[in-house]
Subunit: 311 residues, 4 copies
């Protein structure tokens, strides 16, 4: 009897074919190097010190964004995040301020000196968003929106590529290859939790930390973690962020709000339950800074980044 | 102690808010009607008789497409499928023939009289694809590509909306609402298998037949099944198609090839292992036609479409 | 760089090592035979005609069980099911009537002539349950309770081995091998739905029909389907049962209740929402009987059981 | 139209009914206390300092076990682990040394002073294993083997209850309630990774760290993590262990081997690819010890254990 053959099955063994540009497989010369450094307006991903990106889920007003940008800078963040175009489950939900939001974010970035990453969902708006942002974010829902990946690649801008909520590592690196194939290697991967049978009972998604090391083994691109979406629970974000660093993550992207901290700040329109306070952000930054000085951290970072005979 | 709140959690209870246009919830008047009929160039989805769409995975040449279109018409299919723009895991894989493919498909549709459905991935090409196709397909990878959904809605064309490979029913109906929100109710849902821990050991995805009834309960839109992607195994497609019909599916969309059937036909470039022969397609069509005549089938169809006290 | 090795990973390729007794791999002589027939007190699994097992979830009283046994016999079922020992999520839930339940079931089986299958959870009770039952059921929660499997094997009784709710096919066949290794080949597999991210939104588990063919390819043991647990929704059981038959299932095991059908019958203590009425059971049996007479059914059964070049 | 009801669905809201003994719900008096301390021969779980359990996967010989017990004591572990009865996917795999293994483990425990935890799979052997072990382990495959849970409860011994590989938190706490219901509250939970669509591409299971906090919120029982099975990859164990500590885990249970470290040590028969060296274990212990002294760690531990308005 002949055994079944299954269409479309791929494994890590196929990466040399799927993504020859960004895969370490078939590139003995990449084996030597730790990983690529991706620079965004002076901030460097993959340079050994984790990068912290923080800001609101969505831009809701100039004041909210300006205040929060100052707060996250004061807390020690390296970059500013915030959504002007929001992918929402329902068309009747708040969709973001669009161009007005971009302008507010640019102003907040300029005032604080924090480089800006913001999401682009529409291939027709890549040029516009690239005018305002220092780094383009491709969201989880659009990880396999290939025309968008191609245009983001052509823009020449650094790209933050979130993992699809059910994407395999092969599919994710295949998506990154679409950007790289346009001559743009300024790509940072971002794990943000996946769908599983367990998620939804006590968390939004399931944070997959195992993928960090696997990504480091398979590609030279940096990889960061979004503990906000991965948990969906504000009280879990600090632990998730610290855990990601222990796994060798090259950075974190975190949603922050002053709601409940400063008088008069309204509850966020999106994902309020996963936003942490600036004070918690400050503790996460301190954890990273303190950890960098220790020799154990250095040893751990080495281990996290390299598998092999070393046990 | 306060319990955790989780950002972004939704359930079927939220459908009246997420998709007020297409949800039955909050619309007592929809409770009466079985479901909406969606007409595509004379072919009617949701009218009681399952619709069979068949054709190649991708257009590879004029002759391959013409021959296959004739074969699937001879086998009794109602509509023609085929990809001119192919979403592929790697940018180095065959990406489809593009506009040339659209022209070939149009000619094949015209000659056979089978209305054409084909995928559009790029929001900038919705107008172009709408010129050639009778129905626009939004693929699984783009289920939450909201600008694409909006443009497809505005095109006024019927839309076949595949389920994302990890989408909940809420997310899927939320995506359909983006199309409906543009005044276009000509939407047909398509289940095509989801990702699970079991899939990949012996199938490509896991065919989720339970969702058919749940979709029928929650919306008046028709829903069909793609047994080709749901299994990824040619030898499983017939069973999967029959099973879908038993679950009340309003139709099937199936990949077919003459490879190995007619001399000189090359192996398909995409998903060859899931393509069935025209002879197998003919058996599936015969199953549907024979079944329609029986009273048991009618009884089963009623049960499949309506839950409630009837057990 | 060395690639990671993962402990404990197995694939279908390993079946010749995992389960040399029941795997077709490495046994060219098994390739010829369709599959093993397993006989239970005159009822034959794997003989071409699907077997229907039906009865209450749990034995709650003599009258309930007797009445229901007569109802399912009248509806055309081949065997009787019912639980005397119930595995429940909480120790505070109804745990079954134990030995009293066994006696009631035996009497119901004797009166109706329907052979009895009932679950055994405790390795110390295998002998006792084997005195009363014609077939021992190993439930999903105990699929990897190896001492229980060994004792069930040693009992010499036919065993119905349900799939673990997250078991791979390799793990499932490995569990069956524990029974076979005691010299007992009277094993019938039973798919009953698996856990996925989709299940729980609109169904209890996700019915995995793809596994039927894969199991038929890999082992000569018969495989049946439990549409009651796989859906958890009474209105879905008939469709799920018919779909399983279309996929080549060697039988069905179904939960039935007279609640709401006959006056005075109390609501079942366990899983009431998935119990169908005897009238629905009768339709399922009729579907199977009618189908068996048709040549299409025979053709489909052949296809469902054998993969390979036939497309 | 009536909406579907699904049998057997439970959520965290049901915990007061499922597990009234161990759930915090409905017990305002438990809200005050951080959690229960479970003492095992002088080692205390839930007392603020994470407990480290280490040792071989399986006992293979007296010398292997003695040497390794000394190694893990020297590395700073608090308790010894090791399997005398091994649940294996195939009956043809090494099943453990049984009683001989228990005797070797007892001797190793006595010599090193490290309390012993070992798995019991067979309800008939609970008494025997309890004679030799300081703590009984219920493995993932037996999490819902209720007779085994009851006997473990009756033994009066502390119990380490691993999470089923697809168990929800409700199901897991329901299982713990079976032990508690026998008057035995000496229960420690153990997360060990779950099955998902992602696992198997680059790890054995998917480590679910989110569950630690949720468990802390819902019950007063301590919870530890098994980073060995959760990853299946030796090079990932240290990161996973550190990450678990950052999430507030009350301890770790880790598989260790001297294979490749000391001359002449044979490769482990089980799960060799996930065993770390004693040197790596020492680093993990040092991480825990160093961390305990810092005020940040204390702050983080507080946050990890308590959700609520604190963000």
């Amino acid at each position: 009897m002949m055994r079944r053959k299954i269409a479309g099955q791929v494994s890590l063994e196929d990466l040399a074919r799927i993504c020859p540009i960004i895969s370490r497989r078939g590139h003995p010369e990449f084996e030597e190097c730790r990983q690529l450094e991706v620079e965004v307006a002076g901030v460097r991903f993959g340079a050994g010190v984790p990068v912290v990106i923080a800001g609101p889920c969505a831009v809701e007003s100039e004041q909210q964004t300006m205040d929060l940008a100052r707060s996250v800078r004061a807390a020690g963040a390296d970059m500013l995040r915030g959504g002007a175009y929001k992918p929402r489950t329902s068309p009747h939900d708040f969709q973001g301020l669009g161009l007005d939001g971009l302008k507010i974010l640019r102003a907040a970035s300029d005032e604080t000196g924090l480089p800006l990453v913001t999401e682009v969902m529409d291939v027709r708006l890549v040029g516009l968003v690239a005018e305002y942002a220092d780094m383009l974010q491709i969201g989880s829902r659009n990880m396999q929106n290939y025309p968008l990946l191609v245009e983001a690649g052509r823009s020449g801008k650094p790209v933050l590529l979130k993992r699809g909520m059910a994407a395999s590592l092969c599919e994710w690196l295949g998506a990154a290859e679409y950007i790289a194939n346009e001559g743009n290697l300024k790509i940072v991967l971002c794990e943000r939790g996946i769908k599983t049978h367990a998620a939804s009972e006590y968390s939004r998604y399931l944070l997959d930390l195992n993928v960090i090391q696997a990504a480091h083994e398979e590609t030279f691109l940096p990889i960061i973690v979004d503990p906000s979406h991965a948990t969906g629970v504000a009280a879990a974000v600090e632990s998730a962020g610290r855990a990601a660093i222990e796994f060798g993550s090259d950075g974190l992207i975190i949603e922050v709000s002053n709601y409940g901290v400063e008088a008069g700040v309204p509850r966020p329109l999106c994902d309020a339950d996963q936003a942490i306070s600036p004070a918690t952000l400050r503790r996460i930054v301190a954890f990273i800074r303190n950890r960098e000085g220790t020799s154990e951290a250095a040893a751990a970072a080495t281990i996290a980044g390299v598998s092999g005979p070393n046990r």
